[in-house]
């Protein structure tokens, strides 16, 4: 029986002048907080202006792992992949949103990719089967990532109609909900989402000398 997990999104909306903070609270079926979920708000009235950060982001390879498991970013963001490890890596993606590979690169070197299409990019390493990370390329500047306590907050959201989206590696499909933020809203709202999570399947990192396997 595959465990079902549910994400409960509670959007606490508080008005501050003409903008509101939208807080998400993500909980699974048994009430446990869900970390590493990407939440975003897509403006339905007028597309929000996207401005990728000037400085590249960084996802390092260290201890034969990616430094960040889930990284949300906007279209056009550049990410550096520095090898801060003791071994070489060969990071790649076969995701349609961005296919790339960094041919075997030694410690101290790095790869750089600019993500120019929205979509989820699954990162792997051809050397280390267990290495895995996700980059969620978004077409909206309103996003956040849930912390260990399962909360994420998107600050200073202007009034209007939005589609709230939640992505998680173990969600089969994004969970979405349309919300309306009125200018007169001054009190925070709490909304709940219930989502099913797939079982947590991963390759367990092999102990020294023995082979790894699917679990």
């Amino acid at each position: 029986m595959r465990p079902l997990a549910f994400v409960c999104i509670c959007a606490a909306i508080s008005l501050r002048a003409s903008a509101t903070d939208v807080a998400f609270r993500l909980v699974d079926a048994v009430g446990a907080p869900v970390a590493d979920a990407v939440v975003s708000l897509v403006a339905l009235d007028a597309p929000a202006k996207i401005s990728p950060p000037a400085e590249p982001l960084e996802i390092a390879q260290n201890g034969q792992e990616f430094s960040t498991f889930v990284t949300p970013l906007v279209v056009g963001t550049t990410v550096n992949f520095p090898n801060e490890d003791k071994v070489s890596h060969q990071v790649y993606s076969l995701s349609p949103a961005k296919k790339f590979v960094f041919p075997l690169y030694k410690p101290g070197t790095r790869g750089t990719v600019t993500f120019d299409q929205p979509g989820v990019v699954a990162l792997g390493c051809n050397i280390h089967d267990w290495m895995r990370a996700y980059i969620v390329v978004l077409g909206t500047p309103l996003f956040g990532k849930s912390a260990r306590d399962g909360t994420a907050t998107i600050t200073a959201v202007a009034p209007g109609f939005y589609r709230a989206e939640v992505w998680h590696p173990r969600l089969g499909k994004n969970e979405t909900r349309e919300i309306s933020l009125a200018a007169s809203d001054i009190t925070a709202r709490t909304e709940s989402f219930t989502l099913a999570l797939k079982p947590d399947r991963r390759i367990h990192r092999s102990p020294e000398g023995s082979g790894g396997g699917y679990k």
Partner: protein, 588 residues
Amino acid sequence: MAWFRFRRFSIRLLALLLGLLCVTLATTYSLVSSANDASAREHARASLELGARLFETAIRQRIDLSSVTSSLMSADDAIKQVLLETPIDTKTLNSTLASYTQRVGAPAITLFDLERNLLGNTRPDLIDETEGPFAYLIRRASEREMPENNGFSYLGKSRDLHALVVAPLYAPYPNIAYWFGLAFPIDRAFAEKLKETSRIEVTFVSTEDIAHPRVLATTLPDASAKIVADAVALGRRTRAQLTDLVLPDVPAKALATEGDHYVTLVKTHDMVAEDPISIVLQIPLGPELAAARDLESFLIVVSAAALAAAAILALLIARGVSQPVQQLAAHTHVIARGDYKTRLALDRADELGQLADAMNAMSVGLAERDRVRDLLDKNVSPEVAAQLIRDGAALGGQEREVTILFADLRGFTTLSEKLPPTDLLALLNRYLDRMSTAIEAHGGVIDKFIGDGIMALFGAPVAQGDAADRALAAALAMERALADLNRELAAEGRPPLGIGVGVNTARVVAGNIGSHRRLNYSVIGDGVNVAARIESETRKPEHRTNLITSAATLAALRDPEKIFPRLLGKVYVKGRAESVEIFAVAAG
């Protein structure tokens, strides 16, 4: 005739015994045989179920192998290099997959993207469409979160049966980037491999077109496989919702040269969006039954021996019965011829022995009767006869004391004028019969009938100590017998009869009297005349009695208490000087 009957009896006994034994043996044989048959079938069916599982396992192994293959391919750097290109170079991809077919021994490998578009394909002759069975399996796998999926489908122009497996290409695990599709032909080679381990015949039948069932793969000769396919189609036609079908045994000749029946099990296997295929598993019954057949042959030999033994035994018993019966029959002829001396010696204690003893006793009885008749020319009561034979009789002439009884019928002369002769004679005989019975009942011997008169002797030819008592008792009994007869005559509307009886005791000469041709035992002497004279006295009405006896008789009585004599007077007998005192007698 008798011989024939006895033969028939023995044959009947033989037939009965052998028949019963035959029924018993045949029942035993058929029970054993059918039990053997049932257990062989049971065993065969169990083997087939095992074979069916073996088949599932074989398929399963192929699928597992495909999974491993896929994960190996998934981890292969080369294909990722090819897939990193945009757009993907189809020719390079196909050649990469083709090199995998060499490496992993899968005959056909395809690659689909997440939208189930066919990207790469090593066998365009088999797989040529995007939304084909592979796409179906991938969609189902995606929907149901299955790590891989498999099924069966017909591929290519000749629509050969293939087992299909779809497995993901992870980049990285558990993120699915592409799907591999592998196809294995389910062909004769596959079926033969299955047969190698299980000795089970396997036939895959498609009933897509129920009128023309198609053999997809088989270990059987083509002609036999065709019969199986037709049987499967018939089974599916006649029963809807068919899952498993037990076929009747297909006649062996069509199936194999062994000349044996096949126990058959049909399993159905779901196809990808098509009618299910039937997997027919068959096992020859012959080898299963071999041991049982040996046992049955042995049983037949034992049965034959038992029948022979029973036949011999039955004949012996029949002879044991018929031989003495024949002897008995023969002995009846001996007796019928008048030979009472020959004895039948059957040394047996059973019923036949008893019958022989009875026949011997009968011979003795017949011999005695003859001897008495020869001696006396008279019928005597069996009691007297026995005494005569036991004591012997001096028939040559002997003076001895005898009580003589004379009886005379009254009114017979008048009666003879009234009745026709036949009736008269009948009436007379009826009377004489009653009187004789009364006399013989008391141990008297009828000496002679003189017209309607009777002369009887007591104390001769066998001496009787109480002859006088017997004679008077007989006389009284005669009176009673006559009274009975008169009651009958009255009922018939006839006049009553009267009787006069005279009894005298005297020493007379007894012996056989007559010519050499015809001898007659009788007595002669004065006493006989006296008895007749006394009897005639009963006619005198002044005596008022029918029964008169002499003083000599009264003197000879052993038990005078029972008799009440009344003196009538004296009579003179012609030729005799002395008078005789006579008495009327009545019962005490």
